[in-house]
Each structure stands twice: as structure tokens, then as C-alpha cells.
Symmetry: C2
Subunit: 542 residues, 2 copies
Amino acid sequence: MGFGLGYLLAKTDIISTSDHSSVVSINLFIALLCACIVIGRLLEENRWMNESITALAIGLCTGIVILLTSGGKSSHLLVFSEDLFFIYLLPPIIFNAGFQVKKKQFFRNFMTIMLFGAIGSLISFAIISFGAMNFFKKMNIGALEIGDYMAIGAIFSATDSVCTLQVLNQDETPLLYSLVFGEGVVNDATSVVLFNAIQRFDLSHINSSILLQFVGNFLHLFFTSTVLGVVTGLLSAYIIKKLYFGRHSTDREVALMMLMAYLSYMLAELFYLSAILTVFFCGIVMSHYTWHNVTESSRVTAKHAFATLSFVCEIFIFLYVGMDAMDIEKWRFVSDSPGTSVRVSLILMGLVLVGRAAFVFPLSFLSNLTKKSPYDRIGIKQQVTVWWAGLMRGAVSMALAYNKFTRAGHTKLRGNAIMITSTITVVLFSTVVFRLMAKPLVRVLLPSTKQLFSSMLSSEPTTPKSFTVPLLSNGHNSEPDLASYSVPCPTSLRMLLSTPSHTVHNYWRKFDNTFMRPVFGGRGFVPFVAGSPIEQSAHQLQ
Amino acid sequence: MGFGLGYLLAKTDIISTSDHSSVVSINLFIALLCACIVIGRLLEENRWMNESITALAIGLCTGIVILLTSGGKSSHLLVFSEDLFFIYLLPPIIFNAGFQVKKKQFFRNFMTIMLFGAIGSLISFAIISFGAMNFFKKMNIGALEIGDYMAIGAIFSATDSVCTLQVLNQDETPLLYSLVFGEGVVNDATSVVLFNAIQRFDLSHINSSILLQFVGNFLHLFFTSTVLGVVTGLLSAYIIKKLYFGRHSTDREVALMMLMAYLSYMLAELFYLSAILTVFFCGIVMSHYTWHNVTESSRVTAKHAFATLSFVCEIFIFLYVGMDAMDIEKWRFVSDSPGTSVRVSLILMGLVLVGRAAFVFPLSFLSNLTKKSPYDRIGIKQQVTVWWAGLMRGAVSMALAYNKFTRAGHTKLRGNAIMITSTITVVLFSTVVFRLMAKPLVRVLLPSTKQLFSSMLSSEPTTPKSFTVPLLSNGHNSEPDLASYSVPCPTSLRMLLSTPSHTVHNYWRKFDNTFMRPVFGGRGFVPFVAGSPIEQSAHQLQ
């Protein structure tokens, strides 16, 4: 352990102030990030653009400029670092997603989400692996083994939850949003588990016992990851409730929330669990309990600081992927046979499309069988939307591909180089083209979206925004959480008409109010704090 | 440049997820950070403790535990990384200090601060260098050259601005706070400049031309660093004012502020300027202009997010210094002759005390000569407080010492090892003992502090806190900035009695209102935005 710490901090020596070229690079990178925000904002009126695509484009341009200035010599402009991605950039994004997710929608569709995320990913994985094996064996792309084909399956069944967040609007299509995003998170976990399992298990002879072991492994992983996230979240709620009662300090509260969220992620990494799942559930629990135990300024700060961090990390990833795509080393192998590379990319893209269709439609059918109310069913147009919204492949695929097919960012084998360049192609193409087509598609397929979904499917109380403290009016305070039923709300009558699916919810609400909230706090269960901003604003409003 | 980027990101590969011991270390470190916050809070009633000392203590304990578990074998538990400190931990702290500083006090005492920070540091540097040369030459501590002695002078004239922030209270003793803290920032810059100059200039024959060159270098550095900070700050204000007018987005605004602040720091590093000065002035400008151009939720978020970041970085530093102090390698050299090491540390501590006394009292006398109003003069008791509050040596000293006396955190020479251990001893001793003594000292010397200073020295309007939006009531909104004179305030009559020293201020205010604010925004100069929280809250209050 002593060694570990030493090692860590010796390696933490990222850049040396004396190492001037690194300072140049950091400056360039930060300036580009700023440029992405500013240009993204300026192009906002343009419906085809947003910060992410801007970042991708700026990354590509910068890559080209660097390539030209270095005279094509520097083979490594930007090495994709898996760890930078998994340790620093992904946690804030997923945590924020959990923190801001509409919890009621998410839990209402929990079974469907699990069906899509776990079983669906397995189907997609099987189809892509099998397809790749059949197609690529006939092509001359170097030596690939069965493990490689299965890895390809795992790599390309990982949807990009970051991208997905931007295609659908949580307020306009809450059902689809929670389905696609929830599926994305579970799917990320499935892909990573699959990928690790492929590298660990002996794949030469697959039999039923290995398969059972594999399923057991997955279930264990899913359960323990969730529990770890929930426990860390509850712990943070308990600590803040006990510790800061009556003497709040915004900086300390927010710092503790941030550190504990990150701790949950790293603990999951420590125990080889799915850190993505853990931090996602930690975010959900924190927004349900911890967030209500802090002062109002802490709430505003936490909500926006997490969103800001997540936003910066997203732009960082897209900029990074854009720049990395210009890495010349891998393209050299490909330039000998551009046709092969194009064909490989096209085949992969086709497999992604087929693999996703092969589970979205059948599983939607299955899911619809269990729903009694026609409103809760997933219509064919919505199925198409779900299918399309999950086609994007992103940084998770990149990270897995680099892990599998390169050694410290370098590759010498032709087959591996082609797989890397194809991954980059698929990621870029799906991110740009598929995503750009997604918005018009949603508009065509679900024209009445705004009215239909927000009135029928989401039964959020149309929160009395104007009565709450002004600063909270843009979202979080009005977020419909698991206990919003306890507040008498205009739509509660309609709720009563569709009782069956809400029985579990009712039980949970009772349990929550009786056992959980008195211990961990939460909305309406935090004791009155004299002199707190709530009180002040109440006085002013009188 | 291409290489630079590649190099940077190859090195960014800090920890590998496969490298399990690093994950253990990160977990341990984050858990310790959480523990520091929680325990620091629990011990808050105890007037001797706070989060920083708790962090230091926990760091020391952890160091000992790791030392014991590794059986004393691991010579490097935690290597102090200069770059981690200068690139990641210091910028948020200094930026936040600039962002939250009471600008009026700071600028009113600008000349005194410069006198203390620049001339004072030089005096202190000369005395410590000269003293060390005389004392250490007679002792058997290995080969030290004239450059080494001068480096010792620079290392130990760098006061710890982080520590200083915690000794004095900005609201209770605004004059002293601004003096000591402002001096600390300038002093940091002076020390770093001195230190670099010593390593660059030929020291074997110092003559007047080199001295002049040196002074010119310092003035140039000070001026350009300040200008860079101001320009970056103004740029951020301009961009946000132009870009987000009428369609604000909290995440983007806060992200842009953060990135531009960090950019200013890194740009200063790029041009070999004093990044500390740059980011400090960038913070001041951002709080004067940019902060007023954003929405209210952005204001709350920015204020608290910066404070939170700064808070976490401070604890990180103290935890880090505490753990590093247990690094066994250096102590091995010292264990042969404990007497020598103790004597060296005591001599250095004495020199620090004398060196600071030698400029605080004479320069205070000089400064008092220029003040006409007796209220603006620095009394003898206040001089003692200023002297004592700046005695702490902290992470800047550590970083400079490691830079000078080790190579990548390792040292083999006896003299160098003794200097490192002495630095650690002085830092620990001054941080714990001098700081603990500072609070009672302030209480004894300035018993009527609260009444005296807040009524006479600070002429802030006793802000109508209760009238402002509740969430802003704890500080920033009521921060007395350069233009608060324009608001009719209860103390403005008293202000008129002490006109002379405020003439510059009046000119600045006119200039600010006529030229700066119309372009860059600022309080009262941001156009009315329909639907903004200000409007909402105003409506509610009616």
C-alpha cells in the first residue's frame, strides 16, 4: 500500500512546469474548450449544431493543423488515455445524470430498462460478434481470433449515454428519455462486464456451466454495484444531516457531496464492480436524500456545479475524440487498403443497426405484454425512436477498443490497426450523422410529443414554481421524486385511475416516509433550522 | 507542438485501472479528505483545531501507519510533487482569494501592500540568506554554495498565504487581513521571482548592473502578470456580457468563468510570468465585472463552487504535506546527527522571525508617514499582529525546497537532506505552533477588534442584507467593491471627512462608470433581462 501511494504520486507528476511544451499543450487545450463553449453558443440557433459537435469539429481541425505543422512527422498527436476517461471524465457525467434524472419515470420503467440494458445488450453483442466473425473471416484483415470477435461485439454494443442525453429531452419525452438513458447506463455496465469476462474466461470451449457462471457474475455485479452506490449516498445524507444540523456551511456540504460521490466511484473500481452503475445510483440517492438536507445555497450550488462539471467533461471528451481521430500511426496501415477499411466500417455500422433492431422491437413487444394501461405501452413510433436514439457509439467504445487492440496507445499489427480506425470511423459517423438525423426523426415520429408525454406519461405535479425560492425555479426543486405523491398535486386524480403499476411505488413511499426519511432526511423531513435561508425567504414573502 | 500534446497526454495516464494499488491509494486519499472535513467539523467547537490542522494531523498519522505497515521499508510513501501543487492545487486557492477579497480595502492599501510584499520580501530574503551563510558555515552540514544560501533565503521568505487566510478574519479586521493577505500574494510572487533569478543569474560576482537588471526583471514581471490577469478577466466579462445577453445558461457561464480563470494562470506559466499574481487579479476583475453579468443562480454557484474548490485544495495540501513529512529517506541522513538538524531548524526559525520583524516595523513606520488620518495608520499592536500572522511557512516553501534540493523527489547529499528535513520541520512547526498562537495573540492585542475595525477602518455600507435575495445574503452581494460609493450608504458622511486618500478612488470610480462598465458590465450596468431571477424575486417581494 505504501508503494501504491508512492507510485501514484510519482506518476501524478503529470507535467513539469519546466517542461514548456506541456504548458503550451494545456493552454491550447483550455483555449479550445473555451472556444467550443463560445462557438457552440453562437451556433445555437443552428439546429444542426451544438457544443458537442462543435467540439468534435474543432478537435478534428486542430488535429489536422497539428499534423500539418509537424509536417506529418509526429505520429502521436494525442494518445487516447483510457484512464483519463474512466477515472476523471466519466464519473462527473454519470453522477450528474443520476442526480438530475427524473426518478419516478426511471423507477416506473425499471423492469423495461433492465430488459433493454441487460438482455438487449447481450442480444446485440451476440449478433455483432457473430456477424463480424462471418464477414471478416472472408476479408484479408489480418489475424483475428474468436476472443477478438467477441471483444468487437462488446465494444460495439456499448451505446453512448452521453450522446443519448442530448438527443432526447427529459421534459418533452420523459418515458423515452428514461428508457434510452437508463438502458444506456445499464448497457455500459453490461458491455464492460462482457468485455472483462471475455478477457478472463476461457473462450475456446463455451459450455452451459461457463454461461451460468457468467450470468451469475453479471447479476452479482449489478446487485453489489447498486448497493454500494445506495449505501454511499445514504451515508452522505446521514453524515450531513447529523453533522451540520443548525450550523450549515455551504462549502463543506458541497465538498462532502462531491468527495463522497467520487469515493463511491473509486470504491467500485477498487472492488472490481461497475463503477458507472454505482455512481449513477449514488447520484439518485443523493438527490433524493442528501440534497434536501443542505442549505438552499448549497442546493443551488450543488445542482449547477455538478451540471457544469458534467458539461465541461462532455466537451472535453468530444474534443479529445476529435483530436485523437487524427492520430496518423493507425491510418498508415489503412492507407494501403482503403477499400478494406471502408468495408469493415460499413459492415460494423450495419451490424450495429441490425443488432439494436434485433432487441428493441422484440423486447418492446414483451414489455408491452406486461402493461395493462395503453398509455404505458411503447408504440411502434416510439420503438423506432428508442432504436435510433441508442445507435450512437462514443467514448466507451473508443476506450474499450484501445484497451483491446493497442498497447499503451500504440499498435503494430495490421488487423488491430484496422479495428482501431474502424472504431474511430464508426464513432465519428454515428455521433455526427446518426445524431443529426435523430432530432428531425423525433420531430417527425412524435409530433405531439410535448402535449402527449408531459401530460399523460409524466405525472409530475405541475410544481408551484413561482412559490418556491426564485433561484430554484429552473428545475431541481420541482423535480418529481419518489415522494412527490405526498404533496397534493393537480394530477393525483388521474394517478388513481392507473393504480396497478403504482402499487410498488405506494409501498416504497410508505417505507420511505416511515423508515428512511426520519433517518436520512429528504424533502419535508429536515428539521426547521432557525436563520436558514428558507426561513428568511418565507419571512420576506409574507 | 504536436509532440507536446502527445507527450502531455501520454503522461496524463496517471493511474491505470488495472493498476490496483493506485486505485487503493486514491480511495484512501479521498476517504481521508472526507474524514478531514467530518472530523474538522466535529472539532470545530475546539478553538485550537480546524480542518487544516486536522488534515495535517491525519496526514502525519497516516504516514506513520503506512510506515509501520510497510515495515519501514518503503522509503517513498508520498513524493511531494511540485507540479501537482503549482498546476492543480494552488490556482483555485489564489483565484478564490482574489474573487472573495474585499476589493476596496485591498486597493486602498495598495501601496502599503506593495511595500510589504516586494521591499519587505527582499529585506527578509537578504537577512535570512546572510544569517544562514554565517551560521551554517560554522556547522558541519555538507557542501553548500552561495547559490544555495540565497535559495534558502528565497525559500524561507515565502509566507503561506493559505494559512494567513485562516488566521485573520476578513470581516473583523479588514485592514490587517488585506495587508497580510495582499502582502502574502505579492510576496509569493517575489519569492518565486527571486528563486528563479538566483538559479539563472551568475551569482559569483554581483554588481550594480545585475542588481538593476534584477529590479527591472521584477517590475516587468509584476506589471505584465497583473495586466494579463486583468485582460483575461475583462475578456471573460465581455464574452459573457455579449454572448449570453437575454439567454443565460448557468452551466455554460460558470464553466466559462472557471476555464478562463485557469487559462489566465496557464498563460502566465506559458510566458514565464508570476501565475499567482495573474490569477489573483483575474479573480478580482471577475468578481467586479463578470460576476455581475451572469444570472443569480450562476452567481450563487460561482461564489460557492470556487470557495468549495479552494477549500478542498487547501485540505488536500495540508494532508499531503502531513503525509510527506513522514518520508523516511530524508530522515535517515538526519538520524546520524539529530543535534545538527534541530539546530539548523531553530536557526532558520529564528531567522524567519527576525527577517520578518526587520521589515514589518520599519516599513509600517514609513507607511504611517504618508497617512494623514490617524485611523489609517498601523498602530504598534497591529504591527505585531502583521508580523506574527505572516510567520507561517507553507506549501510554497516546500515546493521551492524540493525544487532546489532534490531531484525528482530524491536526495542523496547530506547537506541537501538536512535542508529538506529542516524545511519540513519549519513548515510543520510554524503552521501548527505559530498559527495556534496567532488567534489568542490577535484576541489579546486587538480586543476591541470587532467594533473598532468594522466601524472605522472599513467604510463598507452596512449592506441592507435583508433586502437582497436571501441566497446571496452571506457575503458576496454585500461585498464592498470599488463602486459601492455610488450607492448612498449610511457611512458616506464619515467618508467625506477623510477625502485625501480617496481621490484616486474617486477618479477610478468615474473612469469605471464612464468607460469600463458600459463595455464590461458590472453591478447596476447589466441590462434588464426579462424573466431573469432578479425580476422574479422582485415580483415576489412586492
